[in-house]
Symmetry: C2
Subunit: 346 residues, 2 copies
DNA sequence: CGGCAAATTGACTGCGAATGCGAACAAGCA
DNA sequence: TGCTTGTTCGCATTCGCAGTCAATTTGCCG
């Protein structure tokens, strides 16, 4: 019953095996697999034939050991990004793969896991790290000490020179607020993300700042957790606090906005956008679904992931490069979940 | 302006460096980092102190080269799984991490990419592979020839002994169909996934078989692509074909079911579930959202990912193990998108 | 305090591929 | 043909660590 194909040599095939079969030296084999090496076409043909015959593939581990590059990058991402997660991951991975780099995935369930992780990441001799999670200053110190290039994705340190790729959160919030104010909304609710999220902070602060700047009088802020349900509970908290429902709710991400919208319609029987305007941030897929058609700001994920990958790989080749922060504008998507003045779209 | 901390030694720290500082041999250092090795506590203390001082971390690459294990597993996943993707990935990664294995991520945009990928995967000397993508028989041959253990996630080959972890798709569809039939639905529409998806095939076939078994007369099948929009277009196709709307639409996944549901309500003004029942499969997050509350079958993702990881790691340690297929029952979630007889929930 | 077993330690080798260097060889020129 | 250039190839070494084996130390008992 055992269907094992016992005829093939099940052990690892090394460059020596290929060399022996082809009657050449191991160096020759090595050179044949190195693009741009000096090899005669006759040699290459012989080696390749032998390699094929044996099913030889160069051992990336051994190669890394001597070359000092693993062609591997760590992607650290906290899993609470939920809806947003696959898009980033796929984008990063595509860009990395195109340049011959593989992604080692590190998912964080809790931000505190990152400490244990960091050591591991570095053990694996990754060429670089792309971090879409919260890092503390000492953690950044630790990475820098190891001289591993890293890029923060959608977070940055104001007081610190680090590589970062960010969506301009405040700008996006400003657009949203401008549009809401212009349409005459007066009582504002804000549902922030978890307190330790810098993205949430920037968005919330950005919205708040603009609201104040434009003279909004009635603003309440409650905290959510970026999850769907906290959109609903956030709305409830806002209602409790205000004593009525606000005119507009600004959510720190789309997922909460969708939760808020659902709660408004189905729990409180409010018409959206007539009775209540809801806006989000991110531009995740479900935000475009017919039931929602959310007014939001879409992050240019593919440009951002491409930038992150470029930045990291440039720095792998040239560690001397100065840290750089790149900000990307989002794209306002008017949607239909907020009552806006005509042509308010940016 | 350069804030580079130039005081620390920026180069790699090896076990020799630690050994020199501690005044011991390199072997001693190595042993100190190997759990269960024979080392005196005095030695360990000295070495650890030196290691800490230098910021030494053992080089996993060198370790892999000699031990023949990379503590790395490839996770190959096609990105069109969209909503479902993060859950799987996080689950797999958590389980792998717990056992000290890192995931190398390979995302497929098109299933055809897998050929190019396979060579790469194997170059990286992964200890095993978890494949949530379509593999052809020759591709499986290729992997087996390399003697790399692999587990198929949610696909299996009927005629072939391979390791696989699957949700029992037909069983789930049977539950759904039973419930729909019991509630008196008569005209059925099925929106399948892409033709080359085995998951879609099993679900569609499963539903069809059960429908016929129970004597359903009116059944139409149209093809979708697992995406949100194809739920709507699928419904349109069904209406065109039938000349009216069906009583129930069975979608090969949740995402399409949600699209179908939205189209039914917002495009055709149908009441769901009164005029039309819609069921899906997967149990993704948004299916539980208030706007939808989809009737579906939830895959036990965390048990499945755990099983996949166990299977793969068992086979890394013991390559002789016979191939095994594990099937998991889903969980029927009655929801509110289908008109069901009372207490029809399994 | 001698003697023996057990525990601990260090020298050395090898994992598999890449590369500097010199040898061998081919091509170009007078 | 003899000599110079330029290619191509093999030898030997290297990457960083783990495991083997023999040497050494330690502990323990009579």
């Amino acid at each position: 019953m055992a269907s094992t194909t016992a005829e093939s040599p099940r052990q690892r095939v090394t460059s020596y095996d290929v060399a022996r079969l082809a009657g050449v030296s191991q160096s020759a084999v090595s050179r044949c697999f190195k693009p741009g090496a000096s090899v005669s076409r006759k040699m290459r043909a012989r080696v390749m034939k032998a390699a094929e015959q044996l099913g030889y593939q160069p051992n990336a581990i051994a190669r890394s050991l001597i070359s000092g590059r693993s062609n591997t990058a760590a992607v650290v991402i906290s899993s609470n990004t939920a809806l947003y997660f696959p898009e980033i991951l796929v984008g990063l991975n595509r860009n990395l793969a195109q340049r011959g780099v593989r992604a080692l995935l590190f998912t964080l369930e809790q931000e505190s896991d990152i400490d244990r992780l960091l050591d591991q990441v570095l053990q694996y001799q990754v060429d670089g790290m792309i971090v879409a999670a919260r890092l503390s200053a000492p953690q950044i110190d630790a990475i820098e000490r190891r001289a591993v290039p890293f890029v923060l994705y959608n977070r940055s340190f104001r007081d610190r020179q680090v590589n970062a790729v960010c969506c301009d959160q405040s700008e996006g919030e400003r657009w949203l607020v401008d549009a809401l104010i212009e349409a005459g909304h007066q009582r504002f609710g804000i549902i922030s993300g978890p307190g330790d999220s810098s993205v949430s902070m920037e968005r919330t602060e950005g919205a708040l700042a603009r609201l104040r700047e434009l003279g909004a009088k009635h603003i309440s802020v409650v905290e959510g957790d970026f999850g769907y349900h906290s959109g609903g509970t956030g709305l409830k908290k806002l209602r409790d606090r205000i004593g009525a429902h606000p005119d507009a709710v600004i959510c720190a991400n789309d997922t909460m906005a969708l939760g808020c919208l659902d709660a408004a319609r189905h729990e409180y029987g409010l018409a959206v956008p007539e009775d209540l305007s809801v806006v989000g941030f991110d531009g995740v897929g479900p935000a475009r679904w017919t039931s929602y058609n959310l007014t939001t700001v879409r992050q240019p994920v593919s440009r951002m992931t491409e930038a992150a990958v470029s930045m990291i790989l440039e720095r792998v080749d040239n560690p001397q490069l100065q840290p750089e922060k790149r900000f990307f504008s989002g794209e306002m998507i008017p949607g239909n979940s907020a009552r806006l003045a005509p042509a308010a779209a940016r």
